[in-house]
C-alpha cells in the first residue's frame, strides 16, 4: 500500500519538479487564458452582430437584412452542428497556412468563430424572452423599433444574457484545450509535452485537469458573486 502510494507521489513529482517542468504548465496556462480572453471578445463581437441581424430581420422588410439573416442562421446552424475540432482543422488549414502566424491569434480566431455562434443564440434567446407586450407598449407610445429595443428591451434582456454569457466563457476556457491539435502550446499541449519527456502521460494530464478545474471553479465563483450583486441592485 505504502509502496503504491510512494510510486504515485514519485510520478507526480516527476511530472512537476525536474527540469522546472511546472514552468511548462504555467506557460501553457498563460497561453490558454490569453486565447480564451481574446476568443471571448471575438465571440461576443460576432455574437452581437449575428443576434442583431437575426432579431431585427424578423421585424423588417429589408431584403438586405433578410439575406444577412439567412447567412446568420446558416452560420449558427453549421457551427453549432459540427465538432469544434473539425472546425479548427478547417479554419487553421484554410487561413493560417503561413508558418509564422501567431498562435494566440490562431487559437483566438478559431475559438472565437465557434463561440460567436453560441453567443448569438444566447443574446437572441435573451431578447426573445422579454414578453412581446413590452415592445408593443413602446411602439404604441410612438417610439421607433430601435428606440424601444435600446431603452426597454435590451436593459431587461441583459439580465438574462449576462449569466448565460458567463457560462459560455467558462466552457470556452475548457474548450480551448481542443486547440492543442494545431501548433499552439496551450495548457493541454504542454501537459502532453511533459508526458513525452517523462514517459508517463497520466500525471501531467491529471495536473492539467486540476488546473482546468481550478480555473472553472474560480470563474464560477466569480460569476456567482457578480449575479448576487446584480440581483441585489434591482431588488425592488
Amino acid at each position: 500500500m505504502a509502496q503504491w502510494f510512494k510510486k504515485i507521489c514519485d510520478a507526480f513529482y516527476n511530472a512537476w519538479v525536474p527540469e522546472k517542468r511546472y514552468l511548462a504548465y504555467l506557460s501553457g496556462l498563460r497561453m490558454t487564458l490569453r486565447i480564451a480572453l481574446f476568443a471571448v471578445m471575438i465571440g461576443i463581437a460576432i455574437g452581437i452582430v449575428l443576434a442583431v441581424i437575426k432579431v431585427s430581420a424578423k421585424h423588417s422588410k429589408s431584403k438586405v437584412l433578410k439575406a444577412l439573416a439567412v447567412f446568420a442562421n446558416l452560420y449558427t446552424t453549421v457551427i453549432r452542428g459540427t465538432p469544434m475540432i473539425v472546425q479548427i482543422m478547417i479554419i487553421y488549414n484554410l487561413i493560417f497556412t503561413s508558418p509564422n502566424s501567431n498562435p494566440v491569434v490562431i487559437g483566438a480566431v478559431c475559438c472565437g468563430i465557434n463561440s460567436g455562434a453560441y453567443v448569438a443564440e444566447i443574446i437572441r434567446a435573451g431578447i426573445e424572452s422579454i414578453p412581446v407586450g413590452q415592445m408593443e407598449a413602446g411602439r404604441s407610445l410612438g417610439l421607433s423599433y430601435s428606440m424601444t429595443m435600446r431603452t426597454i428591451i435590451l436593459p431587461q434582456a441583459v439580465k438574462n444574457i449576462l449569466p448565460a454569457l458567463g457560462n459560455e466563457f467558462i466552457s470556452l476556457v475548457k474548450e480551448t484545450s481542443v486547440i492543442s491539435v494545431i501548433a499552439v502550446n496551450d495548457l493541454m499541449k504542454m501537459a502532453g509535452y511533459v508526458g513525452s519527456r517523462t514517459w508517463d502521460v497520466i500525471p501531467p494530464y491529471v495536473i492539467a485537469a486540476a488546473i482546468y478545474l481550478l480555473m472553472t471553479l474560480a470563474l464560477t465563483r466569480l460569476m456567482g458573486a457578480f449575479e448576487r450583486r446584480m440581483a441585489k441592485s434591482d431588488r425592488h
Binding site: 414578453p131 407598449a137 407610445l141 417610439l143 426597454i152 425592488h236
Partner: protein
C-alpha cells in the same frame, strides 16, 4: 377622426377581419363587444397598426396611415393604447414609465415631463407612487398608471383593449372610474370590453363584432334594449 374602409386582416390564411368600415368621430366613445376570438383585439390593434391590415385602408385625422410611406411612429404618438396586461416597463419607476416617451421623443423636457407625471398621478389617485416600481403595485394601480403613461403623450384618441379583464373584481371599479372621467373630459375613446355597465353608461355607440364583421351597431340604449341580430341576442342573454 378615424375612418376604416373595408378593413381586412388574415393570419396565415385564417380570416380574422372580413371587411370593417367604420367612421369614428372626434369625442365619440365607441365600445366594442363580441364573443372571444371574433376579432375585437385585432380590429383595435389594426387602428394603430400594431397589426398590419391585409386589406382596406385606415384614415386618421385625414392621413391614410395604411400607406407604407407614412411614418407610423409619429401617428402613434397621437393614439394612446392601454393593454389588458398593462405592459408597464418593470425596470423603470412609475415616473420613468410616464416620462420616458415624451422625453425621448422630445415632446417635453425632463422637468416638464416630471411635472406632467405628477399631475397625471394626482389625477389617477396615486400621487405617492412616483418612485415605486410597477412590480410593487396592484393590478388596478398598474392599469391606472398605464393609462397615465398613454395620456402623457397628449393623444387625440385612446384605445383600450379589455383594460379590466386581467384585474381582480375589486379593482375593476377604480380603473373604470378613471376611464369615465376621461370620457367626460371629451376624450375620443375606442374600448373593447366585457363591462356592459360601462358600455351602457359611457358609450356613445356600441359595436357587436362577430366573426370578423360588425354584425350590429347602435346607441347603447337601442343596442341593449332591442338587439336585432340573433347572435347578439344570444350573446347578450349570456352576459347580462
Amino acid at each position: 377622426m378615424i375612418v376604416t374602409k373595408d378593413l381586412k386582416k388574415h393570419f396565415a390564411g385564417h380570416e380574422v377581419l372580413r371587411g370593417i368600415s367604420q367612421h369614428i368621430v372626434k369625442g365619440e366613445k365607441v365600445v366594442i363587444i363580441g364573443p372571444s376570438g371574433s376579432g375585437k383585439s385585432t380590429f383595435l390593434r389594426c387602428l394603430n397598426l400594431l397589426e398590419e391590415p391585409t386589406g382596406g385602408e385606415i384614415i386618421f385625422e385625414g392621413k391614410t396611415i395604411t400607406d407604407p410611406k407614412v411614418n407610423i411612429d409619429q401617428i402613434r404618438q397621437k393614439m394612446g393604447m392601454v393593454f389588458q396586461q398593462f405592459n408597464l416597463f418593470p425596470m423603470k419607476t412609475v415616473r420613468q414609465n410616464i416620462t420616458l416617451a415624451p422625453v425621448l421623443l422630445k415632446k417635453m423636457s425632463q422637468e416638464q415631463a416630471d411635472a406632467r407625471a405628477e399631475e397625471l398621478l394626482k389625477r389617477i389617485g396615486l400621487p405617492d407612487k412616483a418612485d415605486s416600481y410597477p412590480g410593487m403595485l396592484s393590478g388596478g394601480q398598474q392599469q391606472r398608471i398605464a393609462i397615465a403613461r398613454a395620456l402623457a403623450m397628449n393623444p387625440d384618441v385612446m384605445l383600450f383593449d379589455e383594460p379590466t379583464s386581467a384585474l381582480d373584481p375589486e379593482m375593476v371599479g377604480e380603473v373604470l372610474a378613471i376611464m369615465k372621467e376621461l370620457a367626460q373630459e371629451g376624450m375620443t375613446m375606442v374600448v373593447v370590453t366585457h363591462e356592459m355597465g360601462f358600455a351602457r353608461e359611457v358609450g356613445s355607440r356600441v359595436l357587436f363584432i362577430d366573426e370578423g364583421i360588425v354584425a350590429e351597431e347602435n346607441t347603447p340604449y337601442e343596442f341593449f334594449n332591442s338587439p336585432q341580430n340573433p347572435r347578439l341576442q344570444d350573446f347578450l342573454s349570456k352576459v347580462l
